[in-house]
Each structure stands twice: as structure tokens, then as C-alpha cells.
């Protein structure tokens, strides 16, 4: 079996599409100032739904990012993945010649995959509009998300989609880190993508998990989450490779911890069993002490259950430090972007390390007295060097990553 290639994996590029911004600079401005990205749903007819609002990416033109494939042949989730990957690649200063393409991988996380294709076909079927078979109809397969990225960027290495729902982005980042450390890849584009889905929206609505108005993580009067769409991609390389090509290093991925609640398919373990295990592993692998953490990017969906169990687990894990460490949830601003959330939050965490500011936890009017955390509710400066980013998903899939500022 192969020897370890490197001990250090770094972030050299990022791309982002969210309800508050379609590029990294505006995204940074939005999260630090507290920008609201929630509005009426336009992706499908929500007139018969109980709630009619969500977080949608605005003004996205996929044609700008597709050079070899035809963007209209692919689902919006795939379009998002290609767009953010190209943004990240360009930010990292990479092209097809930078690395042996066989040693460049692509791993994306998602919840619903290429769901809008299925929904379009259903609409066509019910309206009697199905046309003769076209190749593009097959593009509901989830693996086209990473396949299209590979085709557009000339990537020939590891290629897969990890559909572990809301934690998927962290799963992609964690596995990418391992592949680089073990020498199976020199560079990996990893991230998460999910477009607005009627099925997903209806699912959360029927589960009673959606807020009637705003997403209020950690607030006493929080009433649920808001379904959104988005994508983020990060370029990961070994520290040595990045230095060799004089790449700008934005952050280092110190480690991650994955676990499973093994409790319930939709509800979190009330005592945070899986969260505690993932946190323990993340800290073991990253080699940092709990006291080193300067900021926590919360999963913070705004539901009673999630925020309570996350807070309980963080309190148990960090002890008194839990009351000191600033924490916020960017879902307060843009809603829950499903399989993209963890990757978007990873980008947000990198931006914290590079801008010395903290993302705002919007809509916090009265913090839940049972949640004894230091929630950041207004624009705040920070000298943070080490961040924990949490992601918890349906099925009890949990992933926590630790990032640090490059010294």
C-alpha cells in the first residue's frame, strides 16, 4: 500500500453560488454584513404550498461557464457545480497543464442530485409533452455533477458524488484531503451542489420543518429552516505543491471527523451522540486543542431539534469554552442549501480566516436561554486562526472539519 504523500492539505481556490452572492468577494461582504437572500420561490409553482419563500441563486447564466458541453443538456445542480469549479480553478490559477490530469480529482456532495430533470420530465409527462428520446434526458444521474466538471476542466482522476445530504460538502472535503495525503491525487476540486427542488421543498414542508418567515438559528422563537439552493467548490492541493507553484494559500484543512447517529432517519440524536464522536475524531486528526478554536461555523438550521442538539453537544464537548467561542450560522442569511451547505460554510470559514471578520447570525432577537453559546448577531471583527465547521444530515450523517489560517 502507498506511503503518505503529505501531511498538509491547503485551499488555493474557491467558487460560490448562493442566494446572497454569485462570487467570493460579494459573498464575503454579504456574510460579514448580514445580507438576507430569502425571497419568493420562482423555480416552480409554489402557489399551493403552505410556504412560498426560499433562497434562490439570482442572475445565474450557466453558458458563461460551459466551454465543451452544452449547458442546457444538464440539470441546474450540475450547472452550479461546473460554474463554481471553474471559478475555483481560475482563482487557484490552474489550467489543464498544471498537474497530470490523472492526478486531479473531482468529488462533489449533494442531497437531491440532478432532481430538476426528473421534475421537468414529470411536468412534460403530465402535460403530454414528452418528446422523442434525447441523450440529455439521462442527465438525472447524480454522478453527472462531477462528470461534467471533469469534462469541462479536463480532469481524469478520482471522480465521484457523495449524496450524504446536508453534510455532503464536508464529506467531499474530507475524502479529498485523504486522497491528497495518500498521494492518490495531487489536486482535488471538491464541494457541494443542490438546485431548488420541488420535491425537496415539499418534503420539508410536509415534515413541518419549515419556518413561516425567517430562519432564526438559536433564537427562542425559531420555527424551522428555509429551503434554498446553491453550490461551492474548493481547490485542495498539498502544501508542498501549492508552495512550489507559488499559489496563494487561503487556509489549511487540518482534519475532519465523520460519524453516524444511528438513531433516526430524520431527527438528530437528542444528546448529540454522533456529533460528540465526530468532534472527537476531528480534533484527534487535526491535532488542535479545543482551546485553539476561535470560531464555530454552526450547522444551525433554525429548527428546534437541530439547534438544541447542536448546542447541547457543543456545550458537552467544549465545557465552559462553549460560552466563549463565537458561533454563527450563515443559514440565517441564505437558508439551507442542502448538499451545498457544508461546502458553502467551508468557504465562509476560509473567508473568516482571511478577512478577520465573523459571519452574522441574522434574525437573532432573543437567544434561546437554553442555548448557552456565544452567538454572533452583528458585524464583528475577529483575529481567529482556527475554525470548526459542523454539518449534520438526514440519516444521522455527521461531518466536522477543522481549518486554520496558513502560518
Amino acid at each position: 500500500m502507498e506511503k503518505k504523500n503529505t501531511e498538509r492539505v491547503v485551499v488555493t481556490g474557491m467558487g460560490i453560488l448562493t442566494p446572497i452572492a454569485n462570487n467570493v468577494e460579494e459573498f464575503a461582504k454579504g456574510i460579514f454584513e448580514g445580507k438576507n437572500g430569502i425571497g419568493p420561490i420562482t423555480a416552480f409553482d409554489a402557489s399551493k404550498h403552505e410556504h412560498k419563500h426560499g433562497g434562490e441563486v439570482k442572475g445565474f447564466d450557466p453558458k458563461k461557464y460551459f466551454r465543451k458541453l452544452s449547458s442546457k443538456d444538464y440539470d441546474r445542480s450540475t450547472q452550479f457545480a461546473v460554474a463554481t469549479s471553474r471559478m475555483a480553478y481560475e482563482m487557484a490559477g490552474l489550467d489543464e497543464n498544471a498537474y497530470d490530469p490523472r492526478k486531479v480529482g473531482c468529488i462533489f456532495g449533494t442531497t437531491m442530485g440532478n432532481q430538476s430533470v426528473v421534475e421537468k420530465l414529470d411536468n412534460m409527462l403530465l402535460n403530454g409533452e414528452i418528446k422523442e428520446k434525447r441523450k440529455k434526458i439521462i442527465s438525472f444521474q447524480p454522478n453527472l455533477i462531477s462528470g461534467a466538471v471533469a469534462s469541462e476542466l479536463g480532469i481524469k482522476g478520482v471522480n465521484m458524488v457523495i449524496p450524504t445530504a446536508c453534510a455532503a460538502g464536508n464529506y467531499a472535503i474530507g475524502y479529498a484531503t485523504d486522497l491528497i495525503k495518500r498521494g492518490k491525487a495531487d489536486c482535488v476540486i471538491c464541494g457541494g451542489s443542490d438546485a431548488m427542488s420541488r420535491v425537496c421543498y415539499t418534503m420539508f414542508s410536509r415534515l413541518g420543518a419549515m419556518s413561516p418567515d425567517l430562519c432564526r438559528p438559536f433564537d427562542e422563537n425559531r420555527h424551522g429552516m428555509i429551503v434554498s439552493e446553491g453550490a461551492a467548490a474548493l481547490v485542495l492541493e498539498s502544501y508542498e505543491s501549492a508552495k512550489k507553484r507559488n499559489a496563494k494559500i487561503y487556509a489549511e484543512i487540518l482534519g475532519y471527523g465523520n460519524s453516524c447517529d444511528a438513531y433516526h432517519v430524520t431527527a438528530p440524536h437528542p444528546e448529540g451522540r454522533g456529533i460528540m464522536l465526530a468532534l472527537r475524531k476531528a480534533f484527534e486528526h487535526s491535532g488542535v486543542d479545543k482551546k485553539d478554536i476561535d470560531y464555530i461555523s454552526a450547522h444551525g438550521t433554525g429548527t428546534k431539534a437541530n439547534d438544541s442538539s447542536e448546542s447541547f453537544a457543543l456545550g458537552k464537548f467544549f465545557g465552559e469554552d462553549a460560552k466563549r467561542i463565537p458561533i454563527s450560522s450563515i443559514k440565517s442569511m441564505m437558508g439551507h442549501t442542502m448538499g451545498a451547505a457544508a461546502a458553502i460554510e467551508a468557504v465562509a470559514s476560509v473567508l473568516v480566516l482571511n478577512n478577520d471578520k465573523l459571519p452574522v447570525n441574522l434574525n437573532l432577537n432573543n437567544q434561546d436561554p437554553k442555548i448557552e453559546l456565544n452567538v454572533v448577531s452583528k458585524p464583528t471583527d475577529s483575529e481567529g486562526k482556527c475554525i470548526l465547521s459542523n454539518a449534520f444530515a438526514f440519516g444521522g450523517n455527521i461531518s466536522c472539519i477543522v481549518l486554520k489560517k496558513e502560518a
Binding site: E50, K133, I137, G147, I155, T164, V199, A262, G396
Partner: protein, 335 residues
């Protein structure tokens, strides 16, 4: 870094060849499956066929491996699937459109996500080490195996249940046909299949005196960018097969066995067979379709690996798989 071995397996297949009675792993014909009897009736109504099959094969594989107690934190689950949620999604979406969102049942919700099967396995076996789902098209099980090996080799866990599963209920076949996703000819090839493979670190397997069916000696993964651009050519296939074989089998004399994926669905079967017979003239070449028929998409790898361990002669063998999106995978096994 720790070596990874295969210590158990089990499968459910729509088609089963004549020699299944001698198979080293439990083989259950889909038509013989009684979910009530094999899983128990409680909560069955809300499980997809993919999840039900996975529960059966995982239980049988665990028995086959002689595992009695599972160390929760030192075990993991990986499921490879592409279509396990599509039947539920199609039904859910149709009701949403025709009867309105309030007409759909909340109980269907967990089955709308691809990681539902893995989640259920985690809950059933109380496995907390990790829980992952992989969707890589037809080569999914190979990536699931890679993921599992990574976790064992990193000393995260000692044992992983890897399951490859695809369901192909009539409802889904009808939808594929009605939406003109596949022709009748291609639809006729689709098969429902589920296979679970137990992977362990070699030291853990030996500590508990487990039977070791084979060892994973290496793997190789690639994607050919031309497939989505222009459909891929014979030259593209050749380039990928050359890359995989050269990466894993520098000494061709060392390879005694080959297992083909026999991709008749995309018409790649003849080329694959010609290449392998030419490259490894002394090797025994088997095709998973000989035993388990049809097209199993992401579950293909589970069928191939279990079939290889049953059919290979002693020594090293290569297991190949590819799909229409340009994914190519190979696994080097030693029996």
C-alpha cells in the same frame, strides 16, 4: 498502512444462474424474497425495496463473515446506489403536481434522499463509526470499496459493510419508458440487485479467526473527458484500459483472472472482452452476466466482486468496470 481483506458477502439477484447452489456466498433469488419473514413486518411499508434488500444482504453477509458483535464506533457503512430514491421521488412528485403538496405523506420523506438506505443500515446495526453513500454511476461499488479501504487504512475503523444496490420496480421501469429515458430493448436489460461485501483490516480478521476470501491489493480510478463531449471512441476506451492495466498489473504474467463488467447496455462488452483476452491471454476471463444476468448499474461492482471471489482461481485477478459517462475502474484482488 493496513491491508484490507474480504471476509463475507451475500446478494439478492433478479436473475440467478444454474451454479448458484455452489456459490461461496449466500445467493437469494429476488422472487424468493419474503420481506416480512426476512426483516420483520414492523415499519416495512415505509422502506424502499433498495433498503429492504440491503437489510437482508447485510444481515446475511454479517452471518457469512461469522460476525456476532459489532463494535459500533470501529465499524462503518458505505452504500453505492444511483436509483434507490427515484421510485419514491417520481411517486411523490406526481402526487404533488396532480393532487397538491398537502396530499403527499410525510412518511415518504426519508426515502426521497439517496442516503436513506445507508442510514437505515446504520440504525439497524447501530454502527456509528461512519456512514457514507456514493453515486458514481455504474462504477459506484468500486468507489464505495475505495472509500471503505481508505477508512480502514487510516485506522478509523476495523470493519466496513459495503453494499451496492439498485431497485428496478415496475413503477420505475414504466417511468423510464414513459419519459423515453430508455428504449424497450434497454429497459429489458435492467435488473434489480443488491450485494453486501464485508471488508476488514487483515489484522482484525485474523484476530477473530475469520475466513478470508480475498485481499484487495490495489485499485485504479479514471474518467475519460471525451465521453460526455462526444460519446467516447474506441481509442478512448483503449487509452483507459491501458491506463488501468498498466497501473495495477505491470507484470501481466502475474494476472490469472479477469472479471468483466460486460457492458451490453452501452455496447462496450465486445471491446472489453477483446482487449482483456488479448492483454492477458493466460488469464481465466469471467463475466458477471454468466451468473447474474442483466444490467445492475451501481450494484454491478458488488456482483462482480462476489462473483470473482467465487470463480477466480488462486492468485491475482483484475475486476473491471466502466460506464457511459466515461468512468473506468479496476480492482486488483488476490484470492
Amino acid at each position: 498502512m493496513r491491508d484490507v481483506v474480504i471476509t463475507g458477502g451475500a446478494l439478492i439477484s433478479e436473475e440467478v444462474g444454474k451454479n448458484a447452489t455452489d456459490f461461496v456466498f449466500p445467493v437469494i433469488r429476488l422472487s424468493d424474497v419474503d420481506y416480512d419473514e426476512m426483516i420483520g413486518g414492523r415499519g416495512l411499508r415505509y422502506l424502499t425495496d433498495a433498503t429492504k434488500m440491503a437489510l437482508i444482504t447485510a444481515n446475511k453477509a454479517k452471518e457469512n463473515a461469522g460476525i456476532e458483535d459489532i463494535d459500533s464506533e470501529r465499524s462503518g457503512i458505505v452504500v453505492a446506489t444511483n436509483f434507490s430514491s427515484i421510485s419514491t421521488i417520481v411517486d411523490f412528485d406526481k402526487t404533488t403536481i396532480t393532487e397538491g403538496p398537502r396530499a403527499v405523506g410525510a412518511m415518504q420523506s426519508p426515502n426521497l434522499v439517496l442516503n436513506a438506505t445507508a442510514a437505515k443500515l446504520g440504525i439497524h446495526f447501530d454502527i456509528t463509526g461512519f456512514n457514507t453513500t456514493v453515486s458514481s454511476g455504474r462504477v459506484g461499488t468500486f468507489d464505495a470499496i475505495d472509500y471503505a479501504c481508505n477508512m480502514i487504512q487510516n485506522d478509523e475503523v476495523d470493519m466496513v459493510m459495503v453494499t451496492g444496490v439498485e431497485e428496478m420496480k415496475k413503477q420505475l421501469r414504466d417511468w423510464f419508458f414513459d419519459t423515453k429515458n430508455f428504449t424497450e430493448d434497454k429497459l429489458s436489460m435492467l435488473r434489480q440487485f443488491c450485494g453486501t461485501i464485508i471488508l476488514e483490516s487483515e489484522e482484525h480478521a485474523k484476530e477473530r479467526n475469520a475466513k478470508i476470501y480475498g485481499k484487495i491489493k490495489g485499485s485504479c480510478s479514471s474518467i475519460n473527458c471525451n465521453y460526455l463531449v462526444n460519446g467516447g471512441t474506441d481509442e478512448d476506451d483503449l487509452e483507459e484500459y491501458d491506463y488501468l492495466t498498466e497501473s495495477l498489473a505491470k507484470d501481466e504474467e502475474d494476472i490469472w483472472n479477469i472479471c468483466l463488467s460486460d457492458d451490453r447496455f452501452d455496447g462496450k462488452d465486445k471491446y472489453e472482452a477483446e482487449y482483456m483476452n488479448d492483454k492477458f491471454p493466460k488469464a481465466k476471463v469471467v463475466s458477471v452476466r454468466e451468473m447474474f444476468g442483466g444490467e445492475k448499474f451501481g450494484a454491478t461492482g458488488a456482483a462482480q466482486i462476489l462473483y470473482s471471489l467465487n470463480s477466480f482461481d488462486e492468485g491475482k485477478g483484475l475486476v473491471f468496470c466502466n460506464d457511459w459517462t466515461g468512468n473506468f475502474r479496476a480492482l486488483l484482488l488476490e484470492k
